[in-house]
């Protein structure tokens, strides 16, 4: 088996979720999702439509750039989408731009996210977080949300978010459906494991643990009880030699994903 680092297994795992012809957006400070998109487009999903930074259509940056919401990310785009009159019209209409890759300061057992405040009083927060930005929309618009988290710990994966700044499965079960909100969070890829949401209860469920991590370790690092799959918990498929080569030599030669994942 090849040598790889944690950002590389996260990239390969996210990339495998994209199908040819899917339409995906990335947000701010999202090196791993951007690398995963670039990897998928160079391997199994050349027709993956990428709206870089929700603005530049099908760009060709020569590598993962220092910002995922700035030039030169959108180098060689076929179109710049004006954010107010283009992007949000396509995104609010369910026909397009179905996948949004995003991170959250807190994510709870039902996939609700918090990027607003830590503490019990919104108007007098203990910590003011950056704000919900596009996620507050994407959570309610029936998008397939791909969450990623490079620091799986009980403070970021919590039983209940302090403040719900983006809708996941709300209180679970069919609550989301009753509000007419359509699809929601689909997967959570962390530095330790891959998780999804059990179809009935909508509770977060372990899908696989990365090689080297254990189920106990993942449970310990999670602020609530994870549902387990039937039978043994499988290992996450590691990246192939070719995927590792592409990531290191072509897609992210500056190691921005490694920095994001805290890889020394």
């Amino acid at each position: 088996m090849s040598e790889y680092t944690v950002d590389e297994i996260m990239c390969a795992t996210l990339a495998a979720r994209f199908r040819d012809g899917d339409e995906v957006c990335n947000g701010m400070a999202s090196f791993i999702p951007v690398a995963a998109i670039m990897l998928a487009r160079r391997t199994h999903a050349p027709g993956l439509v990428w709206l870089a930074g929700a603005a530049g259509l099908d760009p060709r940056p020569d590598r993962v750039p220092a910002s995922t919401l700035e030039a030169p990310l959108w180098r060689d785009s076929v179109m710049y989408l004006e954010q107010f009159s283009d992007f949000w019209h396509y995104a609010q209409n369910g026909r397009n731009l179905g996948i949004f890759c995003v991170g959250a300061a807190q994510l709870d057992m039902y996939g609700n996210a918090n990027n607003s405040v830590i503490g019990s009083d919104y108007h007098a927060p203990k910590v003011r977080l950056p704000g919900t930005a596009g996620l507050g929309d994407m959570g309610s618009l029936g998008k397939r949300l791909f969450y990623w988290n490079t620091n799986h710990n009980p403070r970021s994966l919590v039983e209940r978010v302090d403040f719900r700044s983006a809708a996941g499965y709300l209180d679970g079960g069919d609550e989301r459906e009753r509000l007419g909100l359509g699809p929601g969070p689909e997967v959570v890829v962390t530095n330790l494991a891959v998780l999804d949401f059990e179809p009935e209860s909508k509770r977060m469920r372990l899908v696989s643990v990365h090689p080297g991590a254990t189920v106990e370790q993942v449970q310990e690092a999670t602020g609530f009880e994870l549902l387990l799959p039937d039978g043994d918990v499988p290992e996450t498929t590691p990246p192939t030699d070719e995927q590792v080569r592409l990531l290191r030599e072509e897609i992210d030669p500056d190691g921005l994903c490694k920095r994001e994942a805290g890889v020394k």
Partner: protein, 291 residues
């Protein structure tokens, strides 16, 4: 009639207490020369409207110029959280009306079109509706669906920076990403102040009228300020100044160091030329123009 003004005259159009719609993605295209002038003129009790606020919000919070923020996020992206803004919110000096992007756009579009509100599906199921008196759920009269009504927002003034304009205030951009800051802020605001890299003859605009994004009839003042977005970027002319952002992130956790920094880069330079010399002069500007 010419709308060309000095920075001092243009910012004189902003009154204490105004709601200011400020162009400002995380590290992009903020009218920083206008922001510095707001601080020099010691404006107070301003409300800021931003899609994503960056260093401009941090500076204005540090200078005590703002008491409320309306927008979707405040972040300098890879340079981290805006620490002075964050501290001001946590200490109760700045109140935050946090909106999703569609809710902010709906509030501004309603303001632009002289409607009392416009709806969105964004934010349904979140707590952000409950803490905001400008958002209310309602039942659509045609389908019975639950939607979020977003009350019209009419900023007192919009501040934007772009590539060029003529003396009448017709504003033109080079091919670049357009955020709501240019797309909707000036349409909603009562007044608009524009800084541009260069003021050109109208004949230059006539060659590419499709690149004119803001009609002069909506512009109250236009000021020529080369590198007026520094340290943020103005794609495709110049990139953001990473070194300057890093310098700010180093000082902004400390109030004394913050004050020294703002004295050196905001209060001391009398002109834009002085400011550009203070941040590294032509050598530095050539570096950010290459990136």
């Amino acid at each position: 009639m010419s709308k060309v003004k000095t920075l001092e005259e243009a910012v004189g159009l902003v009154s204490d207490g105004d709601v200011v719609a400020l162009q400002n993605m995380a590290t992009q295209a903020a009218p920083m020369a206008l922001v510095r002038e707001l601080i020099r003129q010691e404006k107070r009790d301003l409300g800021l409207v931003c899609l994503v606020g960056g260093m401009a919000v941090d500076w204005l919070a540090a200078a005590g110029a703002i008491d409320r923020f309306i927008g979707a996020a405040v972040s300098m992206e890879t340079f981290g959280l805006c620490q002075q803004y964050r501290k001001a919110v946590e200490e109760g000096r700045v109140r935050v009306e946090e909106l999703s992007e569609t809710a902010l756009n709906a509030r501004l579009a309603a303001g632009a079109r002289n409607l009392p509100s416009l709806p969105t599906r964004g934010l349904l199921g979140t707590d952000l509706i409950d803490v905001n008196e400008n958002l209310k759920t309602f039942e659509d009269p045609f389908t019975g669906e639950t939607l979020v009504a977003c009350r019209a927002l009419v900023p007192d003034v919009a501040l934007v920076h772009a590539h060029r304009a003529d003396e009448h205030g017709n504003v033109q951009i080079e091919p670049t990403i357009v955020w709501p800051d240019l797309g909707i802020f000036p349409k909603a605001a009562r007044k608009t102040i524009v800084t541009v890299e260069e003021i050109v003859d109208s004949e230059v605009l006539r060659r590419n009228p499709d690149r004119t994004v803001l009609p002069g009839f909506r512009v109250d003042a236009v000021v020529e300020v080369p590198y007026g977005a520094h340290p943020t970027s103005l794609h495709p002319r110049y990139g953001y100044d990473a070194r300057f952002h890093l310098a700010w992130t180093k000082v902004s956790r400390d109030d004394d160091a913050t004050k020294e920094f703002l004295d050196a880069y905001v209060r001391a330079p009398a002109t834009q030329a002085d400011y550009l010399a203070a941040v590294g002069g032509s050598e530095r500007l050539i570096e950010i123009t290459r990136t």
